[in-house]
């Protein structure tokens, strides 16, 4: 019952926040230099006044800003996100077509980074003064500090060009006509490089955080008590230390999950993954306002949803956190 009320309250707030975000984004985008009609005309390499007039009229760009904003807001109220100037399709269709690819990629990367990060971090914490522990930390530092696009390109050079093990780009083999299990396998193969690339950075953070936070927890009195009781080190590590060390990691995981849509631009571009990040980048370059606003809206909504989920998980992990927070 408590949860239901909590969620309802949060959703109500979310609507207000989203409304403000939409208005803010709308104004912000108008401040960017560049006129969508001129860009479309420029792409065509040929233009005349008539052409520009047609474009502006068709997309309502000739109307005052407040009228455009009103149209946009009343559209959103009915889940109509408008029309993409450049792609010539409804924004909602475009986003829904690309969302699954992004969720698959970032979801996989999320799970991968969280799982590996926690495992590696725990290992490093357990091997604090051993070379193996130092090695893990060194690797984590390298992956933390290396730019994502460079990692991606090097991964392609090694695994795709040099060794030829994994496909370098795309989501499935074009023209192969795979179905069923073969298709799943094909997509999985294509997923390896981009998902790993995307996962490395957060994996490094989780590793470092897990280790630090576990080392801190291991100094607590309850751990000493557990040791005095004669529990095995493994059980102490898992039940007493790790569980208590998880809270900061949940915070960070919540943030990462929220970034899942926006954060994949680079990876999606390098690996030609047909997701939202790329769509957003292209929309930005084309000044495709409606599409850009639509993607902002979805990203914002996703961040809000994951914030709510994070709060709920907090409560599960540590029952001491009450509704008051």
């Amino acid at each position: 019952m408590l949860y239901v009320r909590l969620i309802a309250m949060r959703l109500l707030k979310a609507v207000v926040v989203l409304f403000l975000i939409v208005i803010f984004n709308f104004v912000l985008i108008q401040l960017a230099p560049g006129d969508p009609a001129a860009i479309l005309a420029g792409e065509a390499g040929a233009t005349d006044e008539e052409f520009l007039r047609q474009l502006r009229e068709r997309f309502g760009l000739d109307q005052p800003l407040y009228v455009q904003l009103w149209h946009y807001l009343s559209g959103i109220a009915t889940l109509d996100f408008g029309w993409s100037y450049r792609q010539g399709m409804p924004v909602l269709d475009l986003i829904l077509a690309r969302l699954p690819a992004t969720l698959l990629l970032t979801g996989t990367a999320f799970v991968l980074s969280l799982a590996l990060g926690i495992v590696l971090g725990s290992m490093a914490a357990a091997r604090v003064k051993k070379p193996s522990g130092s090695l893990i930390m060194a690797l984590a530092l390298i992956f933390y500090a290396t730019p994502l696009f460079w990692v991606a390109l090097m991964a392609v050079v090694l695994f795709s060009v040099y060794l030829g093990w994994l496909p370098a780009y795309g989501m499935y083999t074009v023209g192969a006509g795979h179905t069923g299990f073969a298709l799943v396998l094909d997509v999985a193969k294509h997923l390896v490089l981009p998902a790993t690339t995307l996962a490395l950075f957060f994996m490094a953070i989780y590793t470092r955080m897990t280790r630090a936070s576990m080392l801190e927890a291991s100094q607590q009195d309850y751990v000493k008590t557990a040791r005095a009781k004669g529990l095995s080190p493994r059980v102490i590590q898992r039940r007493h230390i790790l569980r208590n060390a998880l809270l900061p990691i949940i915070t960070l995981a919540g943030l990462q999950a929220g970034q899942m849509v926006g954060g994949a631009i680079l990876t999606e571009t390098v690996f030609a993954w047909p997701g939202i990040g790329r769509l957003m980048f292209e929309a930005l370059q084309q000044r495709d306002y409606n599409l850009l606003l639509g993607i902002f809206f979805f990203s914002a909504a996703l961040v809000i949803v994951f914030n709510i989920i994070t709060d709920l998980v907090y409560r599960l992990a540590d029952p001491r956190i009450k509704e008051a927070s």
């Binding site: 230099p33 560049g34 420029g42 040929a46 792609q87 050079v157 060009v161 370098a168 795309g170």
Partner: protein, 518 residues
């Protein structure tokens, strides 16, 4: 097929084996290639941008096509007559052409396409149509265009990208841009639209009912969408794609790729477009408004260096406003060679005080950025105080459209005839705020306007020459813009892809005659 010197440097083994097996085209196979960036739509005539032209040029056709010497050749029109006064053009259409949905292609489609569809939607066709008084279908397979005055380049306007033939039975009476059929383009070309996975691939399949016996040889073409330049190079390296159309890889990747086995390069297939890189210089204000300053810029730039180092030796250093493929080019002009001393003299003479000049590179990739740096360095050597600015495409468009620049890079297509592609950059009635593709530099010269007017409408063809000669002399002296380079756009492909480029717009209808020797 003629190869560039670069291609000749390719492993001789692959080259000789290719020669040994040539001749008899083989049927079958699918070619994988790249489209960059992803086109906004595939209905040619509704969208005229370059990626659309590249893909849709295989789906749609025009009345004529053009040889690499820009001579008109039959396509949907079997033959054509021109009246003695140059006013009436009669096209005789093929009678065995069908649209991809099975309907017959007739003269009514031509009238609808030219007179209604393109008049409403297509700025480049509109520019030609202003010379046309009437378009009539005299029977099912004959169309008569009557001009208001002779227009020299008229026969060069019927290429698929400018006067695309669109099906009347699908578009008549509808709101063209909202037509459901736009998602499934229907043309008369050798390939049919099959599928478009946005962000991944556009697939075309062979048109089994194509009117030319035996064509096309391929079963289909897959256009992969790969947004990152390095990944596109990798796609070729690891064998996923066989053809890299121009602009798909960065220039610095080209030498590496062309050294691969079984790899050929050609600069052909761009004769119709002849992309011409220019340096807009603001003729209205600042140092660039002074003719001597602009001449100094021409002498200061080392254009050979830019071609050899940045463009891998592809392309040609232009003499002046008319490119080497342009008709009526005046070869007698004195070239602006790299001559820093002369540039310094000119700057002294005008009393240039070191005022800062802004330079806007074209935001189309690495090569352009580096090129701007090279020009900046050249200009600094002679004492011009240059600062480069960086923008994205949107900002670049706006800056040029608002005339808020001193010098800026661009490139424009020439379309074979000066009246189509060159005039637009210099005529004063083409000065109009808001577009980065007209007379952006703000050059006004009554004599030039007169000459270009007379040259466009003089008839027959030979009468045009004298006007263009004088115009070129004036432009050469005034330097309204800097002429940088006639770009050599290389198409890189596996040598066992045969007959890839066979016309003056080769890259745009690229796969009509192509076949695989495997």
């Amino acid at each position: 097929m003629r190869k560039t010197p670069l291609a000749l440097a390719v492993a001789t083994l692959a080259f000789t084996s290719a020669l040994a097996t040539a001749d008899e085209p083989k049927r079958g196979g699918v070619i994988d290639t790249i489209i960059q960036p992803e086109p906004p739509g595939l209905v040619l005539g509704m969208v005229q941008n370059d990626p659309t032209r590249k893909v849709a040029g295989n789906i749609y056709e025009g009345l004529l096509s053009y040889s690499t010497d820009l001579e008109p050749r039959p396509q949907l029109a079997e033959s054509w007559d021109v009246s003695d006064d140059g006013l009436v053009y009669t096209f005789h259409l093929r009678d065995d052409v069908r649209w991809h949905d099975g309907e017959a292609f007739t003269a009514e489609d031509v009238v609808f396409s030219a007179d209604i569809f393109h008049r409403e939607l297509n700025p480049s066709a509109r520019a030609v149509l202003q010379h046309v008084e009437s378009i009539e279908a005299t029977d099912d397979h004959t169309v008569v265009f009557t001009l208001a005055e002779p227009f020299g380049p008229f026969l060069l306007s019927f290429e698929a990208g400018t006067f695309t033939m669109v099906p009347k039975h699908i578009y008549e009476g509808t709101e063209f841009r909202d037509n459901e059929a736009n998602n499934h383009p229907i043309g008369t070309g050798p390939f049919k639209f099959d599928d478009w996975e946005r962000g991944t691939v556009i697939q075309l399949v062979r048109n089994d009912d194509y009117y030319e016996e035996g064509l096309p040889y391929l079963d289909g073409v897959n256009w992969h969408v790969i947004p990152d330049g390095a990944s596109r190079a990798v796609a070729y390296e690891n064998g996923t794609v066989d053809v890299l159309p121009n602009g798909t890889v960065e220039n610095f990747d080209i030498p590496r790729l062309t050294e691969m086995d079984n790899t050929c390069v050609t600069e052909e297939g761009h004769e119709y477009f002849s992309p011409f890189a220019m340096l807009w210089m603001n003729n209205r204000e600042g140092p660039t408004a002074d003719k001597r300053f602009r001449q100094a810029v021409m002498y200061a730039m080392d254009r050979e260096f830019a071609r050899d180092v940045l463009w891998n030796g592809l392309g040609q250093v232009p003499l002046s406003a008319f490119g080497s493929n342009a008709k009526f080019r005046h070869d007698g002009l004195e070239p602006y060679d790299h001559d820093p001393d002369r540039a310094r003299e000119l700057l002294d003479e005008m009393g240039y005080d070191g005022e800062e000049v802004r330079l806007l590179p074209l935001p189309y990739g690495e090569t352009w950025t580096r090129w701007a740096e090279a020009v900046q360095q050249n200009l600094r050597e002679v004492g011009i105080n240059v600062r480069t600015q960086s923008t994205d495409v949107g900002g670049w468009n706006q800056r040029l459209g608002d005339w808020d620049y001193d010098m800026a890079f661009t490139y424009l297509y020439q379309y074979g005839d000066p009246a189509l592609g060159i005039t637009r950059s210099y005529r004063s009635d083409n000065i109009e705020k808001g577009s980065p593709w007209n007379n952006v530099e703000g050059y006004e010269n009554e004599r030039i306007d007169e000459l270009f007017d007379q040259a466009a409408t003089a008839y027959p063809e030979e009468e045009r020459e004298a006007f263009y000669r004088e115009a070129q002399e004036i432009l050469h002296e005034d330097v309204p813009v800097g002429w940088l380079l006639e770009l050599g756009f290389p198409t890189i492909y596996r040598c066992d892809v045969k007959d890839l480029v066979t016309s003056g717009v080769g890259v745009n209808d690229g796969f009509r005659n192509a076949w695989l020797d495997r």
